[in-house]
Amino acid sequence: MSHGFEAHGLGKRYRRRRWALRDVDLAVPRGSITALVGPNGAGKSTLIKAGVGFERPTAGRVLVDGIDPWRHRSAAIAKVGYVPQAASLYRELSVADHVALAASLRPRFDAAMARRRLEQLAIPLDSRADELSGGQQAQVGLALALGTRAPVLLLDEPLASLDPLARREFLHVLVDAVREEGSTALLSSHVITDIEQACDRLLVLGGGRKLLDLSIADSLAAHRIVGRAGPPDDIVGTFMDTGGGSVSLVRAPLAAIARGRPATLEEVVLGHLAAGRQPVSLRAAA
């Protein structure tokens, strides 16, 4: 088995109306850190929650380390370390209580490792959760997920409310831990500049569908930015740059490599999100 996280024909429809996810097929290789990127409502959280068994797929299925979390929740949960969107800590409890709580709920939870990681970050174990900063709360959530020593880590926008320094620190801890443990991580985020350094794969969702699924290196190599539209079949999407001008993201087969300039990861994402939509301002999207 070569994939830590898979989706096959995955669809999720809420209250018989809106499809949050539709026909999503993807496979996250073991040992990779994959960035899950997309605008609000793209289906990122739904995909991750389906991986923890919190959402029942309307169509298709999700596999975590080869296990379907909806059908075999206990077995799947044992394979997953999850960091929810908000840290979701118990405000009445201290950090040490959270570690003890995790140890009481999760067989083979590595409480010593979780405590060690928190001490390394100078997070006081006797502080109550509501006394911690947002960055510290996110680090506690990450330490608890890492303490599970699960082979798959699912992180649902843990960076959303963090300042740049806290984001950088969080990602540093995550990358170190994943490399050390050899686990697989799927990290959803809006902040493209930060994940470029931390992740090795890019998965773009838009309107509930998969728009792009490549390694970061391939994503950059396979796209270029041109000022004027080339042949229409080359164009992925057109959007406004920070200067207010219109640029297009084009696919870059080897023959056309000299055309335009290399795309940044943010432009790759914007180009794919802009496909079929009105032009999007780089500034507004960032």
Partner: protein, 312 residues
């Protein structure tokens, strides 16, 4: 479940546990104190059923007795009566409801391979605490009854049925189970508190009404009501020996039209129906069984919902 898990759960409800624990001990202490003062007056069987003229000491004791019963015991009874119900309500709703509302279930349910383990860790320590609050309050109410109703044996008396003894604890646990279920269904603490409070009142009073009807079917003819007996109703003995209601008696023997002869009517002998106080233990066990069954159903319903629902 480990002691560490129980400690964490009680810490999550620290304020409620301290508040209700303190109120329960206060009620218990006051009940013993007031009961002790009443006992010290010596207002007992000698004064209640004097064989000769009422001794002057009894009259003084009676005045002091009713003064304490009305002013002091009257203030302790609401504590022993309402604290267990409030504890059940205010500790039952947040166990799952508040966690869903605050989103902490996302963390906990992703950590545990078994949501039942999580529920047991949350439920059992608080359930035991509520039961302990009910039992201590029930014991306090029993102690107070023994002193406020001299000559009544609390173990063989229907006085204050449901508001003392182990039945009080069973009612508190029932309210707890109901509040737990409503909190789980609604996923929001305050609305669940209001709905669970209303349903608890309806459930307890409705249950008492059903219970009264059951007792009516079991009522027997009592030559006289003694302290501790449960009066249920009065009937008339028809000439053929049947026990009949007032309406039936009126049809058989219509009331006289002349006012001056009405003193002889009704002519059929009246019969008191009730449950003798000696049946208290048996009726109490049955009531506890019904309440425990209701509590178990509510907890089972909660477990079913926790297994299936999304975290908040």
């Amino acid at each position: 479940m480990t002691l560490a898990a129980a400690r964490i759960t009680l810490r999550l409800h620290r304020f409620e546990v301290l508040a209700f624990g303190g109120l329960t001990l206060l009620g218990l202490g006051l009940a013993w104190l007031v009961a002790g003062r009443l006992d010290a007056l010596g207002f007992d069987g000698r004064c209640l059923a004097p064989t000769g003229p009422i001794p002057a000491s009894c009259e003084a004791a009676m005045n002091a007795f009713y003064e304490i019963v009305n002013s002091e015991a009257g203030k302790v009874t609401p504590i022993t009566t309402f604290v267990p119900f409030l504890a059940g309500l205010l500790l039952g709703v947040p166990i799952v409801g508040r966690e869903l509302e605050r989103g902490t279930t996302r963390l906990a349910w992703a950590l545990t391979p078994s949501r039942m383990t999580w529920l047991a860790q949350r439920l059992v320590p608080v359930l035991l605490f509520v039961a302990a609050v009910g039992l201590l309050s029930g014991a306090a109410a029993d102690r107070l009854l023994a002193s406020t109703e001299p000559g009544t044996d609390p173990a063989n008396a229907f006085s204050q049925f449901g508001f003392r003894g182990p039945v009080l604890a069973a009612r508190a646990v029932f309210v707890f189970g109901l509040a737990l279920l409503i909190g789980t269904v609604m996923g929001r603490a305050l609305p669940a508190l209001i709905v669970a409070g209303l349903l608890a009142v309806v459930g307890i009073t409705g249950g008492a009404t059903v219970h009264d009807r059951m007792l009516l079917a079991e009522a027997v003819e009592l030559p006289e009501f003694r302290p501790g007996d449960r009066p249920i109703d009065y009937r008339f003995r028809a000439p053929d020996g049947r026990l009949i209601t007032w309406d039936e008696m009126e049809r058989i023997d219509p009331p006289p039209t002349h006012v001056d002869t009405s003193g002889d009517w009704p002519r059929m002998p009246q019969v008191a129906l009730g449950i003798p106080g000696t049946r208290y233990g048996e009726v109490q066990v049955r009531e506890i069984g019904v309440l425990a069954g209701g509590s178990l159903l509510a907890i089972a319903g909660t477990a079913l919902i926790v297994q299936r629902r999304r975290p908040g």
